[in-house]
């Protein structure tokens, strides 16, 4: 029998334990399973740590990682600077290997961290209440749609086609489950913002909510005030936002949003091929009892000491079962920890500076591109750190050439929409150094 570092039982102990149980063998502990289910698993046998790590390292090196590339690609996952302290503190086993904080007295670290996180998300979104996370931006968006239906009892969701296409698809899948109709609203081909007249034409008494991006998938900043004006008061406005952009954009809560969601990855989380990040989820206080997910609140113990607990658990599946506001149980608490540490380190000034630099660099590159012959910026609407350009030549072959120069070039929107062939979504963040931008612009000039 090989040795297993995670299995402490010695042969002597096993004999002793079997005697205490009153059986003769391990096999006797499995006699309740019909014999015909016996199976020999056809997967490789066990291995030592060093061999496994060597093999996995080799596998990881078959990927080109972002640290070796100049990254001009976003589309929902962004490369930002992450201070060393984030991973170093978060890696503590007391965070990593704790369960859901059901036992509040020995989970105050988790609970206070989540309470502080909720405060930070409330600040960024301008909403009164934040929950303690959803799986990702897309599922948060879908859960927001279901929540609006729970609140106003209507049965149709309108979603802008300028929302991230994977979010649109996720909303549709969740709504298929809930027997809710989803209609897409066109975007204005000139501005890249939601087409307000198309929105108005699709309004009806059964519309529960309208979902828009802020900025949207094309990087364009929706005018939330105008969207709010265009829809009746009893239709909810759900905003899917980029949290970095919220450092400099007017908080959606101040522009009439009812629910604000988004992907939290830009806040201190490595890209990880798109997961795990986390979905943030915030709403008006009036709707707190209709919210999905865990919510943390402050309270006191018998001696008057301040402490934190999960509140309104009667909304949740472990108590309310099929009448719960959602089935969500596990969330993305550890990724929220990364975000909390990150936001504590960068502070208000830091986050605003990160947003401003992303904006500045993106606008500089956009101006450079405007002067090029065979490339055309597509939308006129104001943008944050991403923008769409149309290439005269084949974008995928351009991207292959750029990759040879270690540049991860524009996201090919033709992969998402047939009517956007050779349209590229270019993304910049504070992590794009000026010299990289010059080099990228130079290569575009040469290659186009």
């Amino acid at each position: 029998m090989p040795e297993f570092p995670y299995l402490p039982q010695t042969e002597v102990e096993i004999e002793e334990m079997l005697r205490a149980i009153g059986v003769k063998s391990i096999a006797e502990l499995f006699t309740d399973i019909p014999e015909k289910f016996d199976v020999d698993l056809s997967i490789p046998a066990s291995a030592d740590e060093f061999t496994v790590l060597r093999d996995l390292k080799e596998l990881s090196q078959r990927n080109s990682n972002l640290n070796d590339l100049s990254v001009f690609r976003g589309g929902g996952i962004y490369k930002h600077f992450i201070p060393s302290a984030v991973q170093r503190i978060a890696g503590r086993g007391e965070f990593l290997t704790a369960y859901t904080p059901y036992q509040a007295e020995i989970s105050q670290g988790t609970l206070q961290m989540l309470f502080e996180y909720q405060t930070m998300i409330s600040e960024l979104t301008g909403m009164e209440v934040s929950n303690s996370s959803m799986y990702d931006g897309a599922s948060a968006c879908a859960e927001a749609a279901l929540m609006s239906v729970r609140i106003n009892g209507k049965t149709k969701i309108l979603i802008s086609q300028a929302v991230h296409p994977e979010y649109i698809d996720t909303v549709k899948t969740y709504c298929f489950g809930g027997n809710i109709q989803v209609d897409e609203v066109n975007f204005d081909r000139k501005s890249g913002q939601i087409d307000l007249s198309d929105l108005k034409s699709k309004l009806s008494d059964d519309v529960s909510a309208v979902i828009v991006g802020y900025p949207n998938f094309f990087g364009v900043i929706e005018d939330l005030r105008e969207v709010r004006k265009a829809i009746p008061e009893n239709v909810m406005m759900i905003v899917s936002a980029n949290p970095t952009a919220l450092a400099i954009l007017r908080a959606p809560g101040k522009l009439g949003a009812d629910i604000v969601v988004g992907e939290g990855q830009p806040l201190g989380n490595p890209p990880y091929l798109g997961g795990p990040g986390f979905g943030f989820f915030a709403s008006k206080e009036a709707y707190i009892r209709k919210m999905p997910g865990r919510i943390i609140g402050e309270t006191k113990d018998g001696e008057g000491r301040t402490g934190y607990v999960m509140v309104l658990q009667t909304r949740e599946q472990h108590i309310r079962r099929n009448k719960a506001t959602s089935n969500i149980c596990s969330n993305q608490a550890f990724n929220v920890l990364l975000a909390s540490i990150y936001m504590s380190l960068v502070g208000p000034k830091g986050l605003q500076e990160i947003a401003r630099r992303s904006y500045d660099k993106a606008h500089y590159l956009a101006k450079r591109i405007e002067k090029m012959d065979k490339v055309r910026p597509v939308f006129t609407g104001p943008f944050f750190s991403e923008f769409v350009v149309e290439f005269k030549k084949d974008l995928s072959s351009l991207n292959s050439k750029l990759l040879k120069d270690k540049i991860l070039g524009p996201l090919d929107l033709g992969e998402f929409r047939d009517d956007m062939k050779n349209h590229g979504l270019i993304c910049l963040t504070e992590a794009n150094r000026n010299e990289e931008i010059e080099f990228f612009a130079g290569r575009l000039e040469e290659l186009e």
Partner: protein
């Protein structure tokens, strides 16, 4: 003290590179009403302050790394450090989901191999790695059921059957897929009551959701009969894999006749719970449901690993990108380390540990069901009320003073004053002996001084917290001067 209370205007824990600005300002383009009108009130503290704050918070947590965590149905096994090491490789953590296929062949190969390993372990034909958690996997499973009957043109099946001992997520997930829930009773042995099931199982039932071994830690011996009944009447059989840790290498849900399976990689496959997430709730299916899986799927053409979106009958997308890839890396590392022999051994030791601890505790508190258990067992705490006037909750809270995480209490719902214990295979015999001795000590305390238990815990950072008031008027965010 919160991190907000430590704020001093002008302090920071962050510095960006010195770089020339290009001079583009949002204020030049954006209308005023879209510009932020007040600074977000994030903390303003130094790096060391942040480090001390979060280190301080971490010390207020119990965790697997700090002590015994016999939380029933949660499989709080050791989370190997090698998994963390592997997940931290920049060739895994620094990947963009929209990188070209040819630049992420290693990641795709890992996912493809993991899919195949999970197929082999469960006896299923195909897997999706996308669901982010167990409940997410259940939702995917129920949507697969819905889509399957929709494609068949069978619109009459509106119900899903779940046992009364099921996890709360089962009925909640089925409800999210639009199903009505019917509960099937457990019999006095703690297993699904076949007569009740027979009565409930008609043409209106789309699926039965089962956990096997079930939540009281018993193997559903009648699984073959249940399988036959379900399939004869056209219903699908769904396997909640929360308890797979008991049977690896001994039985496979696919061989038992299950059509859909979800696994919690954060339970059986040792990825850390991370205070409640991220998890991974991968879903396996039999071939006839393969075309319905969420997109994208990972495929291999003999040369290259490919990301496939073109699946016309797919239920669609259930989240963005590929799933919690970082979690998948950890689970893959675990399967590589344990291998076929180690996984089987892990299940055997989990069952051994559970039965051993059960044999020690049964002298102190009666078990809810007799006979050999699998990876966990349930005690019935009603004796605590009748003999000492204390509740299961009080026993649990007193355990905190001894540095032990309480078992799951008041679940499953079918056992009064339930105490559900899952020691897992990674705990030593000494730890189990110590736990049993501690329970004995606490019962002595209960005899002599029940108040000690009712007011427990005494040594934790805070005592029992007022949850009722906290929920009546929730204070969910910090504010100045409060």
């Amino acid at each position: 003290m919160t991190i907000f209370d430590a704020t001093v205007e002008g302090r920071t824990g962050f510095r960006l590179p010195e770089e020339k600005s290009y001079g583009f300002e949002p204020i030049d383009v954006l209308p005023e009403h879209l510009l932020r009108d007040s600074r977000p009130e994030l903390p303003q503290v130094s790096e060391l302050q942040v480090v001390r704050h979060f280190t301080g918070l971490s010390r207020k947590n119990h965790s697997v790394d700090s002590g015994f965590y016999p939380l029933g149905s949660c499989t709080m096994k050791y989370n190997p450090k090698l998994n963390e090491e592997a997940a931290s490789f920049e060739g895994f953590s620094q990947l963009h989901p929209y990188q070209p296929e040819e630049t992420i062949q290693g990641a795709l190969e890992l996912m493809y191999n993991l899919q195949n390993s999970l197929c082999e372990i469960t006896g299923m034909d195909d897997f999706t790695l996308q669901p982010a958690a167990g409940a997410h996997g259940e939702l995917v499973g129920m949507l697969l059921v819905k889509k399957y009957f929709e494609l068949k043109g069978d619109t009459s099946r509106k119900k899903v059957i779940v046992p009364d001992s099921a996890h709360g997520t089962n009925p909640a997930s089925a409800a999210m897929a639009g199903y009505d829930i019917v509960e099937v009773a457990s019999n006095k042995d703690g297993r699904v009551d076949l007569e009740s099931l027979d009565r409930l199982l008609d043409e209106s039932v789309a699926a039965i959701m089962l956990t096997n071994p079930n939540t009281v830690g018993l193997f559903e011996k009648d699984i073959c009969e249940i399988q036959k009944m379900a399939h004869d009447r056209g219903a699908l059989l769904y396997y909640d894999g929360a308890n797979l840790n008991a049977i690896m290498g001994h039985a496979r849900p696919g061989d038992m006749g299950f059509d859909i399976v979800h696994l919690n990689l954060h339970k059986t496959f040792s990825t850390p719970h991370g205070m409640g997430g991220p998890g991974s709730g991968t879903v396996g299916v039999k071939t006839f449901l393969k075309e319905l899986l969420p997109v994208p799927v990972i495929d291999f053409d003999g040369q290259k690993y490919r990301i496939v979106y073109d699946l016309p009958d797919s239920i669609g997308k259930i989240r963005s990108f590929f799933g919690n890839f970082g979690v998948l890396v950890r689970a893959y590392a675990y399967i590589k380390t344990m291998g076929s022999d180690g996984l089987k051994r892990a299940s055997e030791m989990a069952v051994l540990n559970a039965n051993y601890l059960r044999s020690k505790l049964v002298e102190l508190i009666p078990t809810a069901y007799s006979g050999i258990c699998k990876h966990e067992f349930v005690l019935k705490g009603t004796k605590l009320i009748s003999e000492y006037g204390i509740r299961t909750l009080d026993l649990g809270k007193r355990l905190l003073d001894y540095g032990i995480h309480p078992p799951t209490v008041y679940f499953p719902l079918i056992v009064d004053e339930a105490i559900m214990i899952e020691p897992t295979e990674t705990e030593t015999k000494e730890t189990l002996d110590h736990f049993a001795a501690t329970i004995a000590t606490i019962l002595e305390e209960a005899k002599e001084n029940p108040e000690l238990l009712k007011l427990a815990p005494h040594t934790t950072p805070v005592g029992r917290l007022d949850e009722a008031t906290a929920s009546r008027k929730p204070k969910t965010r910090w504010s100045k001067g409060s």
